[in-house]
């Protein structure tokens, strides 16, 4: 059974690798592995959705054979001039001082401990969380045995939620050829495992190894993130797919690499296929592209528009199918509850801000990371703020807060997000929380030794 589970994970990774190589995206082996896995799961889920739209049964052969053929052909046609990923890079030369050695060993021990905790805690308990039973696992089970979209409307309020995660869990069950309440849960800690190298490499690309390692250590200090990696909520899935466009947009402009922009678009589309908020986050990505275009050397309108097109075309192509499905099958309309509510926004200002501050600084979610960030920002040298990476991450963080504060002030979201300081708001903040430890790491100063 475990062997089949591994196959179920390796196949999407292989598929994603072909796509990555077809796009001629060059990166380190660990980033390639993580990106391939995430891309592959997204592609499989999209294909499964298409099969369901055309009333085709969800069978292994129906999923695997067409995808292998399609991506094999794509790879053969597009593989020219690609840069191979070196899976056996020589290790970096370590010439570390005693302090650096202590930090390195401590960091590696802590990361290993957190991953051990996450996998063990997830593995000891079967699918049992509220959202797992209420929305995610139950829909996956329905798709696994029922294999049709018609019944999704019976899931009341959750029927309008995007279903990439449900389809990915269904994919795992299809490979296992049975519904296994225990084994299927491992996909959630695996997502945390897949995310960490991506964050490490992103920070390392624009600073150094020690800051990259520090950012990974800090992100694992949040008990809320650790907890969400052990339960069946879509938050950890969404966190990863939501932050990929943020990382890739910056990389695209720093390296003058249009492929990264296309890849960012693909991940943005997939994030909208996981959670409704994903579509709303398009606005943030578009603003980030605008910002980076204005900061780049070629800031003509034509170049800016071209960048937006490169991002938006894949993003919309991927996110549109589920919106069509929603209309075709009348899958409720959770977002229909979100309307404009301009009147009385001044009355909501204090509750919104105090609720956010309470969550950031007083809850047990984030340890005292937001406070540490505050200290680091207040004590940072002016030169630090001239770093493009710090400016970019800082702006992204502000945009996320602006979006959710704006939603609280001017829409009916107030009653959903801010009715208490912890429940829904915590999960919303979790989706972009890693930007906080990344910013702390980037603002930290490197010891001379």
């Amino acid at each position: 059974m475990i062997f089949l589970f591994i196959i179920a994970l390796v196949f999407p990774a292989a598929l994603g690798y072909l796509l990555l190589k077809s796009l001629r995206f060059s990166c380190s082996a660990k980033t390639a592995l993580s990106l391939s896995f995430l891309l592959g799961l997204g592609v499989i889920a999209l294909w499964m959705l298409l099969l369901l739209i055309f009333h085709q049964a969800l069978t292994l052969s129906g999923i695997v054979i067409p995808l292998v053929l399609l991506f094999g052909i794509l790879y053969v046609f597009l593989r020219r001039n690609y840069s191979p990923i070196c899976f056996f890079q020589s290790p970096p030369a370590f010439n570390l001082s005693v302090r650096q050695r202590i930090f390195l060993y401590g960091a590696v021990f802590f990361i290993a401990h957190q991953l051990y905790f996450v996998f063990l805690a997830a593995g000891l308990t079967p699918i049992a969380s509220w959202d797992g039973i209420y929305a995610i696992a139950v829909k996956s089970k329905y798709l696994f045995y029922g294999g049709q979209l018609e019944g999704l409307k019976n899931f009341y309020i959750t029927s309008s939620y995007p279903i990439q995660m449900e389809l990915d869990v269904t994919w795992l069950a299809l490979v296992l050829n049975q519904w296994d309440d225990q084994l299927l849960k491992y996909i959630f800690p695996i997502f945390l495992l897949a995310y960490l190298p991506l964050q490490y490499d992103f920070v390392k690309d624009f600073s150094d190894r020690s800051k990259a390692l520090l950012s990974v250590v800090l992100v694992l200090c949040s008990y809320f993130l650790i907890y969400h990696s052990t339960i069946e909520y879509r938050s950890i899935f969404f966190l990863v797919y939501n932050l990929m466009p943020v990382f890739l947009i910056f990389r695209a402009f720093q390296r003058n690499e249009p492929t990264s922009l296309i890849l960012a678009g693909i991940f943005a589309g997939l994030s909208a296929f996981i959670k409704l908020e994903g579509t709303g986050h398009f606005l943030i990505y578009v603003l980030l592209i605008l910002y980076t275009t204005l900061k780049s050397e070629n800031r003509s309108i034509k170049a800016g528009l071209l960048c937006q097109v490169k991002f938006l075309v894949p993003a919309l192509l991927i996110s549109v199918p589920f919106w069509l499905v929603k209309n075709m099958y009348h899958l409720g309309s959770f977002e229909g509850r979100l309307g404009l509510q301009i009147t009385g926004f001044t009355d909501r200002l204090i509750p919104v801000l105090s609720t956010i501050l309470q969550n950031l600084f007083l809850s047990g979610n984030w340890s005292i990371l937001w406070f540490v960030l505050l200290i680091f920002v207040l004590t940072a040298q002016k030169a630090s703020f001239r770093s493009p990476a710090i400016q970019y991450i800082g702006l992204t963080l502000l945009l996320y807060f602006a979006l959710y504060i704006g939603l609280g002030l001017f829409t009916t979201t107030f009653s959903i997000l801010y009715y208490d300081p912890y429940t829904n708001l915590s999960r919303t903040i979790l989706h972009f929380f890693p930007l906080c430890p990344i910013l702390i790491a980037l603002l930290s100063e490197r010891n001379k030794d």
Binding site: V138, G146, F361, I368, F376
Partner: protein
């Protein structure tokens, strides 16, 4: 004192430092840490200002190191609590079947699931009848999740062959004439199957 089940349904307003600390306690704990942080910063900054004005270490650096030091202490405590949680989890769940784990987690609701599955001998289209709030409680969804696909309560058919009556006052009154009660779970829960009509 919270049970293990409470921890499995972690509430983010519980600060995880201290395994048995609840909502109010956790907030006091965080305040306490902030006070310690501020006092530490003030003491260290004060000492350097008064006695060591030429020190190479800047106040800025001290504040950062103190903040990281407090964070490190919190994380260390968290790791200790995570270990104690894991030990509880291992003691409770290792060497148990999935059924036993669910019995512990969902109690009578899961027992009712097993009861229904034992009485519904063949796959049937079910209808759930309950006094519970369908959208506000997890129990109806526990039933839907575990009964599917043997008893399909998810499809919400208009022509059910099986009635799943759970936590309903006077459950017998909800059984129409063309159904027969095949098993009673408790005073408020039972299962009824459609009577077979002879040709």
């Amino acid at each position: 004192m919270p049970t293990l089940t409470d921890f499995l349904y972690y509430s983010p307003n519980w600060n995880y430092i201290g395994v048995t600390i609840g909502e109010s306690g956790s907030i006091i704990l965080v305040y306490l840490l902030y006070i310690i942080l501020c006092v530490a910063v003030l003491i260290i900054v004060g000492r350097y200002s008064a006695f060591n004005r030429t020190a190479a270490v800047s106040r800025r650096k001290i504040m950062r190191n103190v903040a990281l030091g407090i964070l490190g202490t919190m994380v260390l405590l968290q790791v200790v609590c995570q270990q104690s949680f894991l030990i509880k989890l291992i003691k409770r769940f290792s060497n148990q079947t999935i059924g036993q784990k669910y019995k512990y987690l969902f109690g009578p609701t899961y027992s009712y699931v097993r009861f229904v599955l034992n009485h519904a001998h063949e796959r049937c289209a079910g209808k759930l009848i309950t006094d519970l709030n369908i959208n506000g409680t997890l129990e109806p969804y526990i039933l839907k999740y575990f009964l599917y696909p043997d008893v399909d309560v998810l499809s919400e058919t208009s022509d059910p062959t099986c009635l799943i009556i759970f936590r309903k006052a006077n459950p017998e009154q909800s059984v129409p004439d063309n159904f027969e009660i095949v098993g009673k779970f408790d005073a408020q829960s039972l299962i009824a199957l459609r009577k077979k009509t002879g040709i």
